[in-house]
């Protein structure tokens, strides 16, 4: 077994980083023009190059996140139970249900409820009024009639505007950040699971019946926060791979692994680029050669940095052989006595 393993390991001095970069970069050039769109899918996760850039940049706020929620063993086979949970997940605030008109001269807010929408989500106007009353404490009066709610309060104009903003944000139902929860039938495993937009694992895990260990989101930062850096590395690998495969440009997993490993090597996800990997190279010359040349040179001079000239870029700059490939081999000879 160790023999097989050793036979398959990469040779010492192989330029794995460059090869990985080329293996991902070249298909990347072909991707730009060919972004596929799928008919009937409303919730579009960015695909192709934009998504790849997003992953490699390790954005704190990815443009569109999805979360897959799996339930505990006996529940996940029961469609009704899953659907019920899904309905409860979707985040609805007053803003989604009502429209608010501010009347500054009468110092009142006129809130009109979209009764159809409210009914479909099992929200009554009484609930809404109650929530508003709660949020306001003792100040002002709240009245409701048919589908109108009137809030009267005697304050300054600015406060009225602030109040309306506050009312708009009052949560009515669901978990903050989650939207469009749909039940998906995993036919192969004979189970149902919930796919919803947004990611809020912190809240989702508190729900009874949710299998915390199987929650998956395409928000890599969220995974890092809740499941640790190893899980984040695997998520990065999975996501990048998925982007490439969807484009019909399969890339060997080991190239992606290397990139994912490099991004996670410091214990927290780091972007590739000026603010991440490339910006934290140990060599001054290598950093100066990449971006923000003057900044790096000046900072290095202030600190009195020394460049051991151990990397590739540095040695090319000064015109020496690089310590890779055939340049890694050294001939050592004992001095004659």
């Amino acid at each position: 077994m160790p023999r097989i393993k050793n036979n398959n390991s990469i040779d010492s001095g192989e330029a794995v980083g460059i090869v990985a970069a080329q293996s991902l970069g070249e298909p990347g050039t072909q991707m730009t023009m060919r972004t596929f769109h799928y008919a009937g899918v409303a919730e579009q996760v960015p695909l192709g190059l934009p998504r790849l850039i997003e992953l490699v940049d390790a954005r704190r706020e990815p443009s569109k996140t999805l979360t897959d929620i799996y339930l505990e063993n006996d529940m996940e086979k029961n469609y009704k139970a899953v659907e019920e949970l899904a309905k409860a997940l979707e985040y609805i605030s007053i803003e989604d249900v009502c429209s608010i008109v501010e009347n500054f001269s009468k110092k009142e807010l006129r809130i009109t409820v979209d009764s159809e929408f409210a009914q479909a989500n099992g929200i009554t106007i009484r609930d809404i009024a109650k929530k508003i009353r709660q949020s306001m404490g003792n100040a002002g009066k709240v009245k409701y009639k048919s589908n109108h709610i009137m809030v009267r309060i005697d304050t300054a104009y600015q406060k009225l505007r602030r109040l309306s903003m506050k009312i708009k944000a009052i949560p009515l139902k669901g978990i903050r950040g989650l939207s469009k929860a749909t039940v998906i039938n995993d036919e192969r495993n004979g189970i149902y699971f919930i796919r919803c937009g947004g990611s809020n694992i912190n809240e989702i895990k508190k729900i009874e019946g949710v299998d915390y260990s199987r929650i998956y989101t395409n928000n890599v930062r969220e995974i890092e926060k809740h499941f640790g850096i190893e899980a984040a590395r695997n998520a990065l690998l999975k996501e990048i791979r998925q982007v490439m495969d969807l484009q019909g440009l399969p890339v060997d997993a080991r190239h992606i692994m290397l990139i994912a490993d490099a991004m996670c090597m410091r214990g927290a996800i780091e972007p590739v680029g000026r603010h991440g990997l490339s910006g934290r190279k140990s060599s001054v010359l290598a950093r100066a050669a990449f971006e923000e040349t003057v900044k790096h040179l000046v900072n290095a001079s202030i600190k009195g940095e020394e460049d051991p000239l151990s990397g590739v870029t540095e040695n090319i700059i000064i015109g020496q052989t690089i310590k890779l490939g055939t340049g890694k081999v050294r001939l050592v000879m004992k001095e004659m006595e």
């Binding site: 330029a15 001079s301 700059i317 000064i318 015109g319 690089i322 890779l324």
Partner: protein, 615 residues
């Protein structure tokens, strides 16, 4: 004319009037204003250059009279009847009236893009004119520009190919001017035996293309040929080329002037004397006449002097001890550049605008089509010669017809240039029938008619021929589509581009090789190429490319303080100008890095190099 009203009276039907983008005022009845303006423009009371556009949504009426608007002529339609009548056309034919008369009479008017889009309703043909129409297209063909209108069967091609064909037609060699012998263009090409295309469009006569053609009718077979026409390469018949198919001359003119300099000094055109600064080898001056100018019909090769010139020194010299400066004039001749193997065609001596003696020397070189020269049809189908096949090795038909050119069938389907195929068919019909074929857009001769005519002549109606392999003599299993199509030689000739370098000049600043053919430069080994070598682990090769073959220098580094040192030639020793140390090490580095160190120093940062023995 336009009633200016007070801003406050703005009603619902009022228009904001702008003249050349500048606000002018409001008008009560924009429709009436437009009618009035149009009527006055047609009657000539207002300029024919005036155009307007009205946006009913925003109520903006823009009147434009400025330049820079693309305008096109249309026939005016009034009450469902075009104003251009048969009498007008008859009079035009007789020469009684001209185009301008039609414009002045208000029969034809020019619209710009804005007016065409907002106020006009244009009929494409006379038969579809209704009372709603305001204008009539003179010819539907005029929706294209001048160049596209000369392409045959453009309605059968994909639009990107039309664009590409238009771009390439402008690069074709032909008879650009009949007085080319007397002209001294700095570069010019003339095609031998230019031919009028067999498949033409109606705009040919109007454009006089038949008087200045730029191409020849080739017999083309659509077939592969031993892999020599893969990926847009073309195989041409060597014997056809030797019969002057696609042959051209290239003229190149060098010029120089006897300039006057401040201080009363002057250039002198003469054969430079051997003692002059910068004197070239004697050999290079051998063709100069007494006046220092080369003689006509002399063979010239690169570096040969064409016009001998002696110039005053670039900088004023120090005054010599006796107060007389001995004139140190320098050689400043005009020489033939790299790749110029040519004949001197003509020499002109004249005077420049400033009144100086001006000499122009025109070189002429014969350009026989060779490997790598570029050809293109009028359908965006370009290719470079991949092989010049001897006629005896080329396929032939039973009647002995051998193609001039073979294009690869793969060039057709993905590019969707059906027009190319149609032109081949049309050209075949035209060459057999002894006539030209009309390939005008929308109104060209139909494929069925061409096929029927071909059949009448006793040919395969699809244009296919039974061909025999010229090498084995065997009959091809497949019939080969062969026809006649107009091909153009494009001015990208290998002989004008070919360039090699093994050693040569370097840049002053970086000591790296120069760039470009004119400077005898090298080819850049760029960042991505470098990445590839790293990827291969070819360490020594990278060093060779980026250092030894480029800007290698040996710098002196102070072992004590790490700064760059200098060599004192007087004392014959190396020393460090910073710490005055004398323990200097010779370090091999790229000059660009030495330059970087210098520039960092100029930023106020002191870089030190720590030297030690190589581990």
């Amino acid at each position: 004319m336009a009633k200016k009203e007070d801003d406050k009276q703005q009603g619902p039907r009022k228009a904001i009037v702008y003249l050349n983008g500048m606000y002018m005022g409001f008008h009560d009845d924009p429709d009436a204003l437009i009618r009035e303006l149009v009527q006055k423009r047609r009657s000539g009371e207002l300029s024919h250059n005036l155009n307007m556009s009205y946006n009913a949504k925003t109520g903006e009426l823009h009147i434009n009279t400025g330049g820079g608007r693309v305008r096109r002529p249309y026939i005016i339609v009034r009450d469902g009847k075009p104003l251009l009548t048969k009498e007008h056309i008859a009079k035009l034919k007789n020469g009684e009236i001209t185009w301008n008369d039609l414009v002045m009479q208000g029969v034809v008017e020019y619209l710009d893009a804005e007016e065409e889009g907002s106020l006009a309703y244009i009929a494409m043909s006379e038969s579809e004119v209704t009372p709603k129409h305001t204008h009539l297209e003179i010819n539907p063909l005029s929706i294209t520009g001048v160049v596209v209108s000369t392409q045959p069967y453009p309605d059968h091609n994909s639009s990107p190919r039309l664009t590409m064909a238009s771009a390439m037609m402008k690069q074709s060699l032909g008879l650009y001017a009949v007085n080319f012998n007397y002209r001294l263009d700095s570069r010019a090409h003339i095609l031998f035996y230019p031919q009028v295309p067999l498949v033409q469009t109606t705009s040919y006569k109007a454009l006089n293309y038949d008087k200045r053609p730029a191409g020849q009718n080739f017999i083309v077979a659509v077939m592969s040929y031993y892999g020599y026409n893969m990926s847009d390469a073309i195989v041409m018949n060597k014997n056809s080329v030797e019969r002057a198919l696609g042959r051209s001359v290239f003229y190149k003119t060098y010029e120089t002037e006897e300039r006057r300099y401040p201080g009363g000094q002057k250039d002198k055109l003469m054969t430079p004397p051997p003692n002059i600064v910068g004197y070239r080898e004697e050999e290079l001056y051998k063709n100069l006449d007494e006046d220092g100018i080369i003689m006509p019909e002399v063979e010239v090769k690169p570096r040969d002097v064409l016009i001998g010139k002696v110039s005053p020194p670039r900088f004023m010299e120090e005054v010599a001890t006796f107060g007389i400066t001995e004139e140190k004039r320098r050689e400043n001749s005009v020489t033939a550049k790299g790749g110029d193997y040519a004949m001197v065609d003509s020499v002109m001596v004249t005077e420049s605008l400033a009144g100086n003696k001006l000499v122009k020397v025109k070189l002429r070189s014969l350009k026989v089509p060779e490997l790598g020269d570029k050809f293109a049809s009028r359908h965006g189908q370009k290719g470079v010669i991949g092989y010049l096949a001897p006629q005896e090795d080329m396929p032939f038909s039973a009647s002995g017809i051998v193609p001039d050119l073979m294009i690869n069938p793969h060039a057709i389907p993905s590019r969707m240039t059906a027009g190319h195929i149609l032109e081949m068919l049309g050209g075949k019909v035209g060459s057999i029938g002894g006539r030209t074929v009309n390939g005008t857009m929308f109104s060209g001769e139909k494929e069925e008619d061409l096929r029927a005519e071909l059949k009448r002549y006793g040919f395969n109606e699809a244009g296919e021929e039974v061909l025999y392999d010229g090498i084995t003599g065997r009959k091809f299993k497949a019939k080969i589509f062969m026809g006649v199509i107009y091909y153009q030689r494009l001015h990208h000739l290998v002989s004008n581009k070919m360039h090699v370098r093994s050693r040569g000049p370097v840049q002053l600043l970086t000591h790296q090789p120069t760039e470009g053919k004119a400077r005898e430069g090298g080819l850049r080994f760029g960042e991505m190429e470098r990445d590839c070598l790293i990827g291969y682990g070819a360490t020594q090769l990278i060093k060779e490319r980026l250092l030894e073959e480029s800007d290698k220098t040996v710098a002196l580094v102070c072992a004590n303080c790490g700064s760059l040192g200098v060599h004192d030639y007087a004392k014959r020793r190396d020393y460090c100008p910073v710490c005055k140390g004398t323990r200097m090490e010779k370090v091999e580095m790229s000059y660009a890095f030495k330059l970087l160190l210098d520039e960092i120093k100029s930023l106020g940062i002191f870089p030190r190099l720590k030297v030690s023995d190589k581990k």
